[in-house]
C-alpha cells in the first residue's frame, strides 16, 4: 500500500471533525474522497500533509509513518497537494510558481546561488526545462510570463496542478480540481488526471462533481460528519443506502 490512513481522529475543541477514519491507497490507484460539505474531507488532506496534527491515528507512506514530520518533509517524501481555495503565489509569474514547486527536488543553497557555480547553473537549467514540460502538459504554454493573479480561474486550477507535479510526487492530493468549471473544462481536467495516472502517480481526489468522480475513480471513500460511512467501487457506492441517505436525507415515515 502506498498510503495508509489509520484510525485518524481530529478533534477541535469538543467537535470531532474526523472520527477514526481508516483507508488505504495502492500504488497507481485513484481514490475519490466524497461526502457532503463539512464532512471532513479537506481536514483529512490537512492531516495527511501535516497542516494539522491529528488527535489520534497515524498516516504512513510506503510503510513509513509520517508522524511528527513537518509539511515540507512530507512533500520531500513524495506527497504534493493542491488547495480547495486556490493558493498560488499570485504576485509571481506562472513560470516562477512552477519553479517554486520544484524546490524540494533541487539543492542549490546561498553560496552556490551567489557564486553561480556550474552545478547551480545546470540545476537552474533543469528546473526551467521541467517547468516548460509541465506547463505544456497542463496547457499553459505561452502564459509563462503572466502573473498568476492575472490568469482566469480555470487556468489557475491547472497551474496549481502543474506546481504540485513539479515536486515529483508519488501521491498527489487534488482538492476539488473542477469546482466551478463548466462541462468542457471538467472533461479537460478529467483527461489531465488520466494523464497524471499514466505517469504512475497515485491520486487522492476530493470532488463534488459526481459524474466526474464516477468516471475517473477506481474506488471511493465516503465521509459524513467525520466518519467513513462507505468504501467501494463507484457502482457499489451509488447503490449504498447509507450514502444515499447522507446525500439526500432519510425518507419521512420510516
Amino acid at each position: 500500500m502506498l498510503l495508509e490512513v489509520q484510525d485518524i481522529s481530529m478533534v477541535f475543541g469538543g467537535l470531532a471533525a474526523l472520527r477514526e477514519v481508516s483507508f488505504s491507497l495502492a500504488e497507481g490507484e485513484i481514490l475519490g474522497l466524497i461526502g457532503p460539505n463539512g464532512a471532513g474531507k479537506t481536514t483529512l488532506f490537512n492531516v495527511i500533509t501535516a497542516f494539522l496534527t491529528p488527535t489520534q491515528g497515524e498516516v504512513r507512506l510506503a510503510g513509513k509513518p509520517l508522524t511528527g514530520l513537518r509539511t515540507s518533509r512530507i512533500t520531500e517524501r513524495g506527497i504534493c497537494r493542491t488547495f480547495q481555495n486556490i493558493r498560488l503565489f499570485d504576485q509571481m509569474t506562472v513560470e516562477e510558481n512552477v519553479m517554486v514547486g520544484r524546490h524540494c527536488r533541487s539543492r542549490a543553497g546561498v553560496w552556490p546561488s551567489v557564486l553561480r557555480t556550474g552545478a547551480q547553473q545546470k540545476e537552474e537549467g533543469a528546473i526551467r526545462e521541467k517547468t516548460r514540460e509541465l506547463l505544456s502538459l497542463v496547457g499553459l504554454t505561452g502564459h509563462d510570463r503572466e502573473l498568476a493573479a492575472n490568469l482566469p480561474y480555470g487556468l489557475q486550477r491547472r497551474l496549481e496542478i502543474a506546481r504540485a507535479l513539479a515536486g515529483e510526487p508519488r501521491l498527489i492530493l487534488l482538492d476539488e480540481p473542477v469546482a466551478g468549471m463548466n462541462d468542457q473544462e471538467t472533461a479537460e481536467i478529467a483527461a489531465l488526471i488520466k494523464k497524471i495516472l499514466g505517469f504512475g502517480i497515485t491520486i487522492l481526489l476530493i470532488e463534488h462533481d459526481m459524474s466526474m468522480v464516477m468516471k475517473v475513480c477506481d474506488r471511493l471513500v465516503v465521509l459524513n460528519f467525520g466518519e467513513k460511512i462507505a468504501e467501494g467501487t463507484p457502482q457499489e457506492i451509488q447503490s449504498d443506502p447509507l450514502v444515499i441517505e447522507a446525500y439526500l436525507g432519510r425518507e419521512e415515515g420510516e
Partner: protein
Amino acid sequence: MINPYYLQIASFILINIILGLSIYITLSTGQLSLGNAGFMSIGAYTSALLTVKVGLPMVAGILAGSLLAFLIGILIGIPTLRLQGVYLAIATLGFGEVVRVLFINWESLTSGAVGIAGIPHLGRTMLAGLQERGFSSEQWGLKNNEFISLTIFIILLAITVLLLAFFSRLFASRVGRAFRAIRLDEKAAEAMGIHTTYYKILTFSMGALLAGFAGALFAHVTGYISPADFTYHRAVEILVFAVFGGSEVLWGPVFGALFLTVMPEMLRGMSEYRYFIYGTILVVMMVFRPQGVLDQPLLDRLRGRRGGGGDDAA
C-alpha cells in the same frame, strides 16, 4: 572637485543603503523587524570596544561585530519566529530597546550615555598605513582630509556594490524564489517543500548580520558612537528606507536610502522635521503605494525606455 562634505554625505548614503538592505532581506520573507537598530548597535559597540579597549585591528573588529550581530540574530530569530506581523515588530522593537538600555547602563564597559570616542577612523587608519609605506596624499594632488574622505567613500562604494551583486544573484535563484514564496503564502510555500523556518531564520539573521556590519562601519567612519545613535528613531528610519523606496525590489531600499539621506541635506532648514516627514511618508505610502516608490512594473517600464536591458535584478 573632491569636497569632503559631499563625500561624507555620500558615505552616509552608502551606510544607509546597507542598512536598507538589512531590512529588505528580513522583509523578503514577510517578517517586519524593528530590531535592526539594535543589531546595528551591537556591531558598532563590539567593533568599537574591541579596537579601542583590546587594540584589535579594525578589520577584525568589524568582522567580530558583524558575526556577533549574526549570532544574536539567530538567537532572537528562533523564539520570535512564532510571531507574525505586528507582534514580531513589537518583540523586535523591545529587543532593540533592551540593547540600547544595556549600553547606557553598562557604564564600566560602554561609558554609558557619554558614548565611545576615539574609535580608530577608517580613512585615517588607511592613510597612516599608506604613509608608513612612503605614500603621501600630495602625490595624488590631494589634501589629507580629502584623501581620507575619498578613501572612505571608495571602500564603502566597493562594499555596497559587492553586496548588491550578492543579493541580486541570491534573489534571482532558488533561494530567492523560496523567500518570495514564503512572503506571499507561507503555508503554500511549506507545502512546496520549502522549510519555512530555516529560510525565515536565515533572512532574519542575515538582516542582523548586515545591520551589525553597517553599524561597525558607521563606528569607524564617524569615530564616535553613543546609545543615542541607535534609538527607536533609527529603527524606524531603517524601515522607512525600504518601505518608501520599495520593499519588493532590490533597488527599492537603495533608492529609499539615497533619497531620504539627501533630502534632509538639501532642505537644511527642514531637517528638524525629519521624523515628522518620515511619519507622513509612512502614512501616505501605506495608503497610496504600499509596495513603495519602486516596484517591478515601474522598473520594467524604466528599462523598456532605455531599450531593453538585463533581467538580472530581483
